[in-house]
Subunit: 280 residues, 4 copies
């Protein structure tokens, strides 16, 4: 049956394709996670369980969407880079951003009991999402540098702050006052002199955030099939009005790897297996 006389309302649905051959950066942020982390008694300044749960959801996303080649997470946010040639959902903006946000949210709730076995969810958490387009490689490097610099700034502050509160016996108001106007080395000094803490001994996960990279696996000669979850073919390349069906598709195998390394300097980006990230 073809439909009803009401079907004309579909004409109000307008197309929203994103510019071709441009990087898509999709960032998800927890909605009211200040309250959410309080209600679920997250450890301060960093709750490793909560961070690992975020990482797990992010990895699930990268298993589902092979065009995500790089991700970075900190606190209650995660950023995903889609390769610039992706034709995911024909580059329809709303379709992509809602599907990615929904699946991430679903994974977060789904895996919650694994990371918080003794803390039942009190209410459903949610995230918002956005996609920002970037035309050049430089913008992508600077985007990830921006997020990791933010991680550093926030974590240094929070670590010192909670040391003052938890070990120094200051009230939160006092601790904020103590830190007002302090620069980076003053915070290091407070931690060192008052609490014998060396900031660099803190877990790299907390200091650097989580980096998840997709890497190409060079074709091997022995032809043993790779594991489904880690090794997956890449999606079709450049979008085109003429279908790319006739184009011979070379299935490149990839794997994802979770790191807590510096991504501001050149070293990360110049490794041969990273060149894949900013290519087509």
């Amino acid at each position: 049956m073809a439909g009803s006389r009401f079907e004309y309302v579909r004409n109000f649905e307008l197309p929203d394709p994103l510019l071709p051959e441009t990087f898509m950066l999709c960032r998800l942020d927890g909605h009211s996670f200040h309250r959410f982390s309080d209600e679920h008694a997250f450890v301060k300044p960093n709750d490793e369980r909560a961070l690992k749960l975020m990482d797990h959801a992010a990895q699930d996303l990268m298993s589902e969407f092979k065009d995500i080649v790089l991700a970075f997470g900190e606190s209650d946010e995660f950023s995903f880079l889609l390769r610039k040639s992706t034709s995911l959902y024909n580059r329809r903006h709303t379709k992509i951003v809602t599907t990615v946000t929904s699946l991430f949210t679903s994974c977060y709730v789904f895996h919650w009991p694994k990371y918080f076995p003794d803390t039942p969810l009190k209410y459903p958490p949610s995230f918002d999402g956005r996609i920002v387009l970037y035309p050049g490689d430089k913008h992508i490097r600077d985007y990830f540098a921006w997020r990791q610099a933010d991680t550093h700034i926030n974590n240094l502050y929070n670590t010192t702050f909670w040391a003052l509160v938890q070990q120094g016996g200051e009230s939160t108001t006092q601790a904020h006052a103590t830190l007002r106007g302090t620069n980076s080395s003053a915070k290091h000094e407070i931690m060192h002199s008052r609490f014998q803490m060396n900031y660099n001994d803190i877990s790299a996960r907390f200091r650097k955030g989580t980096v998840i990279v997709r890497e190409e696996i060079p074709p091997s000669t022995d032809e043993h099939p790779a594991k489904e979850a880690d090794f997956a073919p890449d999606p079709p390349a450049v979008p085109s009005k003429k279908s790319a069906k006739s184009k011979e598709k070379i299935k490149i195998k990839t794997r994802v790897e979770l790191l807590h390394c510096d991504i501001i300097g050149d070293e990360f980006w110049e490794q041969p297996e990273r060149l894949y990230l900013l290519r087509d």
Copy 2:
């Protein structure tokens, strides 16, 4: 600390406000729910548990977002009408559609065990979302009529189809062949003559879908406070460059109600408490 030299990447985030004083219709659809319903052994042609779970998630959304004044659900989709004057998130398109989609997804996973106590989730389900703008009352009525006509068409087909398979012993291929080209009354006749089924005896939930309305509660004189979840003040009205702070806000109390009634004819819309739906 003000930020880093990388912060310029924020300039690539572009504004996306939706046209003011225009109805927003937000529709969510299950992603690959054909497979999902198979994997979780949904009852055919309608699984009441699954539909009630959808309804529960939709009601949670309406508790969270007071500007949703009407919702309609069927199968794995739900549509939400936001009043035309809503200033939710300053009418930012992506912020609204991702937040709504995320929260619905989260509620779905969160409440799953209540409706499927013996069927653990095998993997995280997801939804996509979209927002369509409609300028006129007529478009809104026709939109909801479109969805309910779709419910009727699909449910009549599916009910007859599964009767042929489950009670008539036909294969699914045979059943599709039996129904090819049949009109509405032929399907009624098949059900009636072969299986002694009267289509109109089937649950209204299956035949009509789920309608959730928000209604104004006339201000009472006794001033007993309403329950938090059901009675909530409306959000600020018309968006404006000049803040509406000075405007005297009249807090209108509302409640939501779940129905399985006809929304194609005039009767539903002409009841006094429904006039609220299409007003500002």
Copy 3:
């Protein structure tokens, strides 16, 4: 010949349809007309030749685009209302706004010598254009009221200002100082007491701006064909994915009329022939 291997660059052209069944308001503004009016010695405070030239260009536009049903002009700007059902260029935003702006500009330069026979154009004038969507009748009425209120405010100020300068011998600096903080009746009083001017005696064109309406001509029985320029069939109605070809088109004849009347009050809008303006 089909094209070249470079043709893929067309894929970067993105669709930009405007929301269906919503009023389009297209406003054109002179670019740097302060300088332009000085260079071409426009009479202050109002140059009737320049205003008539604007009106002429606007009428040409309404002859070309039958879906423009109302226009309002003042100073170096003109606003055009397209009926909400217009399917002009399939409602493609950029196509409509650039074509309208271009044709208006062209008419302005083309007709210049008729209105300024002794003042050759020194350089090419230009305009910018924009389209704003409005969902409701009320918004359209308020839009035109906004522009005519602006005409009144500006013209009252300018008329008093130039009386002070041209007849009162004040410098422009003095005249601005004289008017600082004066309200409407103070300006009337200055004109009356110092220069024996009655503001209401000034040309309605200056006080009210120019209103151009399209009106339906009731079908006559004598069937004499109307003049091409003034009487033209309306374009196809509601846009639809399914082509409207099969729909029987009723050719409504219309004419345009130029007025300098009030459009803020109800009277203008309530005349039977004006009901056409806000209908489909």
Copy 4:
């Protein structure tokens, strides 16, 4: 006076900034120029006067908008490349595209009598405009190659076609039939054998279209000021939420040059003065 109670209608004007640091390609096309060229008796297959008029309008545009670094014209169309860092009108889409289209149209009408002294304009010509964004250098090279390949294909066809008609005495119907299915060398052969024409002897303006480049002028030591029209400072660079006012602006002088050369091959692009085109 601050405005009226109707001013809220401005809230319906939505922002439309274009993605930063991305090339803007603005293409203008004549509206119904088939008819326009007939009515004004353009010479077939190419009217040099009409082409020079287009070139003149394009050069005026490049004098006005210093961020246009390259232009290409053929027939009744012209394409303009804006440098990717342009902050013209804060990159507002509609403002840029309407202003450019309007000024070009105005120049075309304004200069008409210089190129057609004996052919008065019968009616006002118009153009439509569009802006397409391109993220990479390669897309820009391919865009211009696409237009010049189009010039070649069309001109070869038209030249042979009109030779058959004007010199060969064929009707236009016959000439189309003669050319149906012919490839490039067949057309060369027809011209050569039947009309002793060598296609390559035809004016480069017709075969290659018009290329207008902006080039940097190296700072000289003698400091003699350049002519206003040809040598102009560049506009401010990268857009930024923080104003770039404090940034020291180096005023680079540029000149524009009109060419009829190949722009498909590498040679054009690899000349040192051309590197400017695709830089910031």
